[in-house]
């Protein structure tokens, strides 16, 4: 079975946003009301200013003082509204953010069936950060939008009531501007993208050049690296300047249109202001309302663009999740922001392994490589080794069996068909150590336990031959390891991962090539320890080490994705040239 590219998921951005807004409905509505007030209050102080100037003109000083008091109060009121609205907005924003992130991670970590990230983990993290952010920004458009719309309508009505002609004439350039910006937005995006790409090329190159710094130094090519950086920098300068130029032009057109509109008010009102039918106060009102009116039009233009971007973000999230339904992204769950998260559910019940069987197991990568039609049997207490050259499909076979890759074929456990290997092959049924195991930036203890019972810790450390290393560490088991902690050696990482597996006491232990990071001596100790440990261990092991091969009850020799032979070491060495070569290749002359 190959992985077919999924059809573009069908979803409605608005419906998903609706799902988010209903997560904390009350909080959302309060935000709507408060931000609505925040955005419409400026109409009040523009109007107060108008009244003030009109009263002054008429010589009504009392009226002017009252208007001034109203002006001051309106401004203070805006402060009050802002103070309340802001905290509530942060509450809403970060809750929705957290919900989407939780849903994404939960699906990846716990949903059934094989899970494969479409890109690198770093790329995937940007779904959690940048795309989740896009969604939050779109939310902001909704909470702000109602208020801004109200402002625009009230301002327009006010201006219309004073002078419909001038209102229409000054609003025209504002609309024109919005249309122009919309018209140019594709160009802006293209410039922005080019500028970002140019930046990515610069940073990628710097990263690559320093990753290869010894190669570069050894080839005495430092000057060429600098020259290449200069070329890339020049490209970026051009791209960035173009971006700046267009953005600045649009920005100044933006501001200009307000000035032009104000100027037009002056021109159109020149005669009527002289005649007194258009008052100074009216002018003040127009001049004060116009900038915000212009902003509100750009705002709605921006909202359209944000709608599209949010759609793209949802799409990217769905691509990350693979088989999730769109609604899952916004599903309502408790985030436990003020309480302890509940304990993880208990593992499935233990059931003794008698026989694990795979028939016609097939898993192919896009490159066409992989494993085809593999039959495999592992019985209770057996030590089964899968061996073969690099690229023969050993790892793929293990991963397909455990459901870490989508695969075809039939897998049975004690004769019963396994429907979803991904959720079936977990402790206490099986446990797995991958070829390049990943430790996390937490203490060694937490790394080994990963939620398992503390009582098995010491035995896990002994079995994995990690105990001597632990005593060497300054803080022992409490040492923080991983990317942000103490760097363990490759062998220590492998053994810590093995310990993590032993801590779960599973029926079937699956090892993917520990030998790439362990020396022969340590690997031998590990197998010996495991053999002495009580209980009938069933092991499925990828290895080319003699220590493993000698111990094997059965060896499967893999070549180009197929099992070319299987049996005990002695018989294989006699009849299989491939096995003989692999045997001879072990124990390299050096390391």
């Amino acid at each position: 079975m190959t992985v077919t590219p999924r059809a573009k998921p069908e979803f409605s951005t608005l419906r998903l946003m609706g799902g988010l807004f209903s997560y904390r409905r009350g909080l959302f509505v309060v935000n709507l009301v408060l931000w609505g007030a925040f955005h419409t209050v400026p109409v009040a102080f523009a109007y107060a200013a108008k009244v003030l100037f009109d009263r002054l003109r008429l010589g009504d000083l009392t009226g002017a003082w009252i208007a001034l008091a109203a002006f001051g109060l309106a401004r203070l009121a805006r402060f009050g509204v802002f103070s309340a609205a802001f905290t509530l907005w942060i509450d809403l924003w970060y809750r929705l953010d957290a919900l989407v992130r939780r849903n994404l991670l939960s699906h990846l970590l716990t949903a059934p069936r094989a899970r494969r990230l479409p890109d690198t983990p770093a790329e995937a993290v940007s779904r959690f950060r940048d795309d989740v952010n896009e969604v939050a920004q779109y939310t902001e458009f909704f909470t702000d939008g109602s208020g801004i719309l109200l402002y625009a309508l009230v301002s327009f009505a006010l201006m219309w009531s004073i002078d419909p002609l001038i209102t229409v004439v000054v609003c025209a350039p504002l609309l024109l501007m919005v249309i122009l910006v919309r018209f140019l937005s594709n160009t802006i995006r293209a410039y922005r993208r080019r500028s970002r790409e140019a930046t990515a090329r610069v940073t990628d190159f710097v990263g690559e050049a320093f990753a290869a710094v010894s190669t570069v130094k050894l080839a005495a090519r430092e000057p060429m690296m600098v020259a290449h950086l200069e070329r890339l920098g020049e490209t970026r300068r051009h791209a960035a300047l173009r971006d700046v130029l267009l953005t600045e032009l649009i920005r100044s057109v933006n501001t200009n249109m307000v000035s032009v509109a104000t100027g037009m008010v002056l021109l159109l009102a020149a005669s009527s202001i002289r005649a007194g039918s258009f008052t100074v106060g009216d002018f003040v009102l127009f001049a004060t309302l116009l900038p915000r009116l212009a902003n509100s039009m750009t705002f709605f233009g921006g909202m359209l663009a944000q709608h599209r971007r949010t759609g793209v973000s949802f799409e990217r999230m769905l691509r990350l999740l693979g088989d999730a339904k769109p609604g899952q992204i916004v599903e309502h769950h408790d985030l436990h922001l003020s309480s302890e998260p509940p304990a993880a559910p208990p593992p499935p019940a233990r059931e003794e392994l008698r026989e694990l069987r795979a028939e016609g197991l097939t898993a192919l990568h896009e490159s066409g490589r992989g494993v085809r039609d593999v039959d495999l049997v592992v019985r209770r207490g057996e030590f089964v080794v899968i061996t073969g050259r690099i690229g023969s499909g050993k790892t793929t076979l293990l991963r397909a069996l455990l459901g870490l890759l989508p695969s075809g074929g039939r897998i049975t456990w004690n004769g019963r068909a396994v429907e979803d290997p991904a959720s079936f092959f977990v402790p206490p049924r099986s446990a797995y150590t991958s070829q390049l195991p990943q430790l996390f930036s937490e203490t060694l203890r937490e790394n080994v336990l990963q939620g398992a019972h503390e009582g098995r810790l010491q035995r896990a450390l002994d079995l994995s031959v990690l105990a001597p290393d632990v005593t060497q560490l300054d803080r022992g088991l409490e040492t923080v390891v991983g990317a942000r902690g103490v760097k363990l050696s490759g062998g220590q990482v492998s053994r810590a991962a093995a310990a993590r597996m032993f801590a779960r006491d599973a029926e079937l232990l699956v090892f993917d090539d520990l030998s790439s990071a362990l020396d022969a001596q340590t690997e031998r100790l590990l197998w010996e320890g495991l053999a002495e440990d009580a209980g009938e261990r069933t092991c499925l092991v990828v290895s080319h080490r003699r220590a493993a091969l000698l111990r094997a009850d059965r060896i499967l020799v893999l070549s180009e994705g197929r099992v070319v032979d299987q049996g005990r070491l002695g018989e294989l060495l006699e009849r299989s040239p491939e096995m003989r070569e692999l045997w001879a290749e072990d124990e390299p002359v050096t390391d």
Binding site: L61, L68, V206, V213, T590
Partner: protein
């Protein structure tokens, strides 16, 4: 002034001064636009007063026209200033980036061992980009804002010294208060950044280890951990935003008071018959010209601090010095002799740095192929590093063609001594650039030739644009990457080749190509091969066995093979399973 900020200023001067014409243009545009911005409200005032006094309609139209024109010119000048600022910023910082890259590349390997490529990106591009923002935006925004603020205050003083004094006090107070309040946000923001780094770090690690977690059934446990990390992030972010918003809240209150007070003063003066209604409007307008720059200044100050910190870091990096100074002597053509004169070496001084090589004394004749054997940690790699002068010996000397490497021109030495490691570093660039390492002087046909000689002829034929084809990440197999590394060396025709042969078993076809290419590579050259394979060792002229930094055995392969007491013959006869014991 501290020495670090002095060096920061020196950096600034070095990169800005050469661009003085554009810096001058920037200043002119900035001053011009600010002057006009200050002028525009005066036009409005005259318009209002003229209208109130029933002045000529023509005057009103003229004033409206002037207003329109001035407004347009202000915007054009501002756009121009931003553009020129960006250009100055990018040009000067690009120069700075190149200098930093040159400088860092020339630093010793000891430095690079301690610093990841990610850190280097931060040093060469991250810090410098903060500076570029400084040039392109800060100069225009902050400097412009300061000028505008001073200008508007000046107009208030000119109009009425009492109002001028009042508004100046107000502006001073507001700036002080806002800048002080901004500091409240610094610590919570730092905690927020930490929490955010933890959150995304947590996610990235779990995604990287997704298979491990799922196969261990630890998904729910990880999700539980995530909820904890996210809870922390939520509350830290919330606290940070709330503490940052204090500045905005204060600014709302202060400006509510400021506007009301200025308007109040104007109304009072109008009542006393001191000013016209146009002047009342003028004050109202100028208040905007006080508010905007104060906003800008409080916002941009953080950027200024960031740029300052970057500038200091850049100065520090530029002050680092290499300890390996290049000599001047050149090397002859053809295969070269390599001599170790009683060489002892350790990677650092002090007790915790035991010598990696101890009294290594041997000569490798020109054109000989030496198979280098030894366990991990026996000093094999270190020995080869000394030949290329990535490090200098602690005691003794390494001589190539009879010359102490310290007396040789380092560039010339590395041109003639080539190294192929197992770990082949590739660039996301064309095939050609990957081979020449961005050297434009090498013609395409030389590159093609080298690829064919390295056994990549067929592979090259499959590339749509030949040597100009971009090399996509992951498009080469491990074996092909090795061959490409061979081609890199073949392009240079070195006199000594140091080769760490691949230790992992590749598919048979690639392996055959590798063997063939290796023959081409070693022919007519002095070679030190760190061997992982018996057939490679079998082709060597001499065998060198290292153990614990000492020469255990060195001599012609055939002699050693015949000598029953030698480690090499023991290794041949004892069966390879206990080879490690033989070597130790």
């Amino acid at each position: 002034m501290s020495s670090s900020s002095r060096s920061a200023l020196a950096v600034l001067g070095r990169y800005l001064l050469p661009q003085w014409p554009r810096v001058l243009l920037l200043a002119v545009l900035l001053l011009g636009s600010i002057g006009l911005q200050l002028y525009v409200p005066l036009v409005l005032q005259r318009f209002i007063d003229t209208a109130q006094q029933q002045g000529a309609l023509a005057t009103l139209y003229r004033l409206a026209g002037v207003y329109l024109g001035a407004a347009v010119i202000v915007q054009l000048m501002q756009a121009g200033a931003t553009y020129v600022g960006a250009d100055v910023g990018w040009t000067s910082t690009n120069r700075l980036r190149a200098d930093l890259m040159r400088h860092l590349m020339n630093l010793d390997m000891a430095y690079h061992k301690d610093h990841t490529p990610g850190e280097m990106i931060e040093r060469v591009d991250g810090d410098v980009t903060a500076l570029s923002n400084f040039f392109s935006q800060f100069s225009v925004r902050v400097f412009g804002a300061m000028l505008l603020l001073v200008g508007s205050l000046g107009v208030f003083w000119w109009r009425d010294w009492r109002v001028g004094l009042g508004v100046t006090l107000f502006a001073g107070l507001t700036l002080t208060v806002l800048l002080r309040l901004r500091r409240i946000g610094v610590e919570p923001s730092r905690q927020e950044r930490e929490a955010s780094a933890r959150l995304y770090g947590f996610i990235e690690e779990r995604l990287t280890g997704l298979d491990d977690l799922r196969a261990l059934g630890a998904g729910p446990h990880a999700l539980r951990g995530f909820l904890g990390v996210q809870k922390d992030f939520f509350w830290k972010s919330r606290a940070a935003w709330i503490s940052r918003s204090v500045v905005w809240r204060a600014s709302f209150v202060l400006f509510a008071i400021g506007y009301t007070a200025v308007l109040g003063a104007a109304v009072g003066m109008y009542a006393a018959g001191l000013v016209t209604i146009g002047t009342v409007y003028l004050y109202y307008q100028y208040m905007t010209l006080v508010e905007d720059p104060i906003d800008q200044l409080t916002q941009q100050l953080q950027e200024l601090q960031k740029a300052g910190a970057s500038l200091i870091r850049v100065g520090e990096v530029l002050a680092l010095r290499t300890t390996l100074h290049s000599g001047e002597r050149a090397l002859p053509e053809g295969p070269l002799e390599v001599r170790f004169d009683d060489v002892t070496f350790s990677y650092g001084s002090g007790e915790d740095h035991a010598p990696v090589l101890r009294g290594v004394d041997l000569t490798i004749g020109a054109g000989r192929v030496v198979g280098l054997l030894g366990r991990t940690g026996s000093g094999k790699t270190t020995l080869t590093r000394l030949v290329t002068r990535l490090y200098d010996p602690t005691l003794g000397a390494v001589r190539v063609a009879g010359v102490d490497t310290r007396d040789l021109d380092t560039g010339a030495l590395r041109e003639r001594v080539a190294v192929v490691t197992q770990d082949v570093q590739l660039f996301q660039a064309s095939v050609r650039d990957n081979l020449t390492l961005f050297d434009d002087r090498v013609p395409d046909d030389r590159v093609e030739e080298a690829l064919k000689e390295a056994g990549l002829g067929d592979w090259l034929a499959g590339q749509p644009e030949g040597v100009r084809t971009p090399l996509a990440a992951g498009s080469l197999s491990a074996g092909e990457a090795q061959l490409l590394a061979f081609a890199r060396v073949l392009l240079r025709d070195p006199g000594v080749v140091i080769l760490d042969e691949p230790s992992s078993r590749l598919d048979p076809a690639t392996e055959a190509r590798l063997t063939l290419a290796m023959t081409n590579l070693l022919r007519g050259r002095t070679a030190i091969v760190i061997a992982h394979r018996l057939d490679t060792v079998a082709r060597a002229d001499d065998i060198l066995v290292l153990g614990d930094g000492r020469v255990l055995e060195y001599g012609p392969r055939e002699t050693l093979a015949r000598d029953r007491a030698s480690r090499y013959s023991a290794l041949l006869s004892a069966g390879r399973s206990d080879l490690e014991e033989v070597l130790s």
